[in-house]
């Protein structure tokens, strides 16, 4: 009984710790000026600020582009390394985890000169941030995809596909990709969450994304900037919830009727 109380106690404390700031944001962004009461004008203003809307669109486009480029680069590379050069797995892992230990400020110092070339060739669109964001999401995306790839018996499945007449492209698209669907989804959503919340690189490289805009607005309209921040946070939260529900449902389905164990014997008879 006491352990149960303890458990609920911890849950309550943590709940308050995480939810209180959110509640405070909601309270602040709906505060009704001098006359008091509740007022949704800050939330309504989200749709009225063209600069903000532009920044939201830019950030959403960046999220999509980064997810796509990350998957196009990382998935085939990882599948190739898993199947053909497993000796390189550690090297690839090390490279992918590097951005985690390099602070964004340091990263930007190195990347800024490169970006003068990027803008020279591709123009100064904020969408060019995609390149540096791909680097930034590598550690998270790598982990997600790696766990998906190690969970399936990719070697056997790809050999089976090849013996049935599949070339490497088919193996990638029709065997590896469906097999790591949940991991791809998870990597993509982590990317989306990270890109929607990114401030440092965009700000230092002078590109107006959502967080940069929120920061600017904060200087003139605090309530609006808080409303936008909360909305962005809720969007990311909903995305992650969708992910865990989808992944969770798949897992339960497999637990009820156990998934085929790949290298070990067993399974229901």
């Amino acid at each position: 009984m006491s352990t149960r109380l303890f458990r609920y106690g911890i849950l309550l404390v943590l709940g308050v710790f995480f939810l209180l700031p959110l509640f405070a944001m909601l309270e602040f962004s709906t505060r009704g000026g001098l006359e008091g009461g509740r007022d949704l004008s800050a939330w309504r203003a989200i749709g009225d600020d063209p600069q903000l809307l532009e920044a939201i669109v830019t950030s959403l486009q960046l999220a999509v582009l980064t997810s796509v480029l990350m998957l196009v680069l990382l998935l085939p590379t990882m599948v190739w390394v898993h199947l053909r050069v497993p000796a390189l797995r550690r090297v690839v892992e090390y490279l992918c985890l590097l951005p985690l230990v390099i602070p964004a400020v340091v990263l930007v110092v190195g990347i800024a000169p490169l970006y003068s070339w990027v803008t020279y060739f591709l123009g100064d669109s904020a969408l060019t941030l995609t390149f540096v964001y791909v680097v930034l999401v590598l550690p998270y995306a790598f982990r997600a995809l790696e766990s998906g790839l190690t969970a399936m018996d990719l070697t056997t499945l790809s050999e089976a596909a090849r013996s049935l007449g599949a070339g490497w492209g088919t193996v990638l698209l029709r065997v590896a990709l469906p097999g790591v669907r949940a991991a791809v989804l998870s990597a993509a959503l982590l990317t989306v969450a990270l890109v929607l919340g990114e401030f440092t690189l965009a700000s230092l490289l002078n590109f107006p994304n959502l967080q940069v805009a929120v920061n600017l607005i904060g200087k003139r309209d605090a309530a609006l900037s808080i409303a936008v921040s909360l909305a962005a946070l809720l969007l990311a939260f909903v995305l992650l919830l969708v992910l865990s529900t989808v992944a969770g449902r798949r897992r339960t389905a497999r637990e009820v009727e156990p998934l085929s164990p790949s290298p070990s014997p067993g399974g229901p008879s």
Binding site: E159, S163, G167, R174, G179, P261
Partner: protein, 352 residues
């Protein structure tokens, strides 16, 4: 529906980090024949199968299928159906779609694909399970679907890489008989790799026993069992008792002074050291005291129609002897017995 092509593996060499897995392997499989490759782990049997399937390359040698050299042809252009030891169905596809996978790659029309997939699932006895996903099927069912999938592409050769070793004993026996039935029905050339000799002896036209990357013997199951070509085969196939001694007048003189009659040592000079092997079924328990070896029954293992006795010889070695189970009941532990051996039954061991 399908008919197989002949296969020749010619002088195959393959080494991993200096250790040879295949060391001059030569093997010919006739069209429509089922050949099993049997051997201890590391003998190169799986490498040989994977080389034939195009999943491994060779350092030297040639792979011929239907008389054509396919040594450099990649796996996906070899038209070989393969069933693996690990469950290898695509988890996101139903049984029917798994079977149809190879047909879709061959641009077979949707209707034709469904028809053939259905037909093959019927053949392996899983017609009603067509809509199930791999995780909804048992291990045995998954391997049947894998077999149907391998057969769907009408392969020139069927390659089975220990497909039964992850299954429980009963399913294993059932499925191996089914594999043999289907193989005979379709007359498809099949290479079957296993470490289970009972399995290999039960379903093969010929059994190839491999050791250290080479073929020791390739012959019909009965011949491999009864007339092993090399001492390695004699020792590897079946359970054997081993006796060490010196040659003396058409027999082996053991250290205890007992004489074991063995025709195989007749050509050896008297006094030379030898080791001979005798199967448990070739020893008889004699009640009249006329046996060559005296000992005491120590253990009994009931194997159904026969019971295997462990008979302890005076110097401590234990000899295994098969006797009819009915007889074994009269020979409880502690019973002194005499063992006789048929002079023609003894085989020479590898280090003899």
């Amino acid at each position: 529906m399908t008919s197989g092509a002949g296969v020749s593996l010619v002088d195959l060499h393959r080494a991993y980090g200096g250790v040879p897995a295949l060391d001059g392997l030569d093997l010919r499989v006739e069209p429509g024949e089922l050949v099993s490759l049997l051997g201890p782990s590391g003998c190169g049997k799986t490498t040989a199968l994977r080389v034939l399937g195009g999943l491994e390359t060779v350092d030297r040698g040639q792979v011929l299928v239907g008389g054509k050299d396919v040594t450099g042809v990649p796996a996906h252009r070899r038209d070989m159906g393969m069933v693996f030891q690990a469950y290898s169905l695509f988890p996101n596809l139903t049984a029917r779609d798994n079977v149809g996978f190879g047909l879709r790659l061959r641009k077979v029309s949707g209707a034709e694909e469904r028809r053939r997939a259905g037909e093959l699932l019927e053949l392996v006895g899983l017609g009603p399970q067509a809509a199930k996903y791999p995780h909804q099927m048992s291990g045995g069912q998954q391997q049947r679907v894998a077999l149907a999938r391998a057969l769907a592409i009408q392969p020139r050769v069927l390659l089975l890489d220990e497909p039964l070793s992850a299954l429980d004993a009963q399913v294993r026996v059932q499925l191996r008989e089914e594999i043999r039935r289907i193989q005979t029905e379709l007359a498809i050339t099949t290479l079957f790799v296993t470490h289970d000799q009972e399995e290999a002896l039960a379903i093969s036209d010929r059994v190839g026993v491999m050791s250290r990357g080479r073929l020791e013997q390739l012959a019909a199951p009965a011949e491999v069992y009864e007339r092993p070509a090399t001492p390695f085969v004699a020792e590897f196939i079946g359970v054997t008792n081993s006796f060490r001694g010196t040659v003396a007048d058409g027999a082996v003189l053991l250290a205890t002074g007992a004489r074991l009659p063995a025709a195989v040592v007749a050509s050896r000079p008297a006094g030379s050291a030898v080791r001979v092997l005798v199967r448990p079924g070739d020893l008889q328990v004699r009640a009249d005291g006329a046996g060559a070896l005296g000992g005491v029954v120590q253990t009994q293992s009931f194997l159904g129609p026969v019971t295997r006795l462990g008979v302890a010889l005076p110097e401590g070695d234990v000899v295994r002897v098969d006797v009819p189970s009915e007889r074994a009941r009269t020979l409880p532990s502690g019973t002194p017995v005499e063992l006789a051996v048929d002079p023609g039954a003894a085989m020479l061991a590898a280090d003899a």
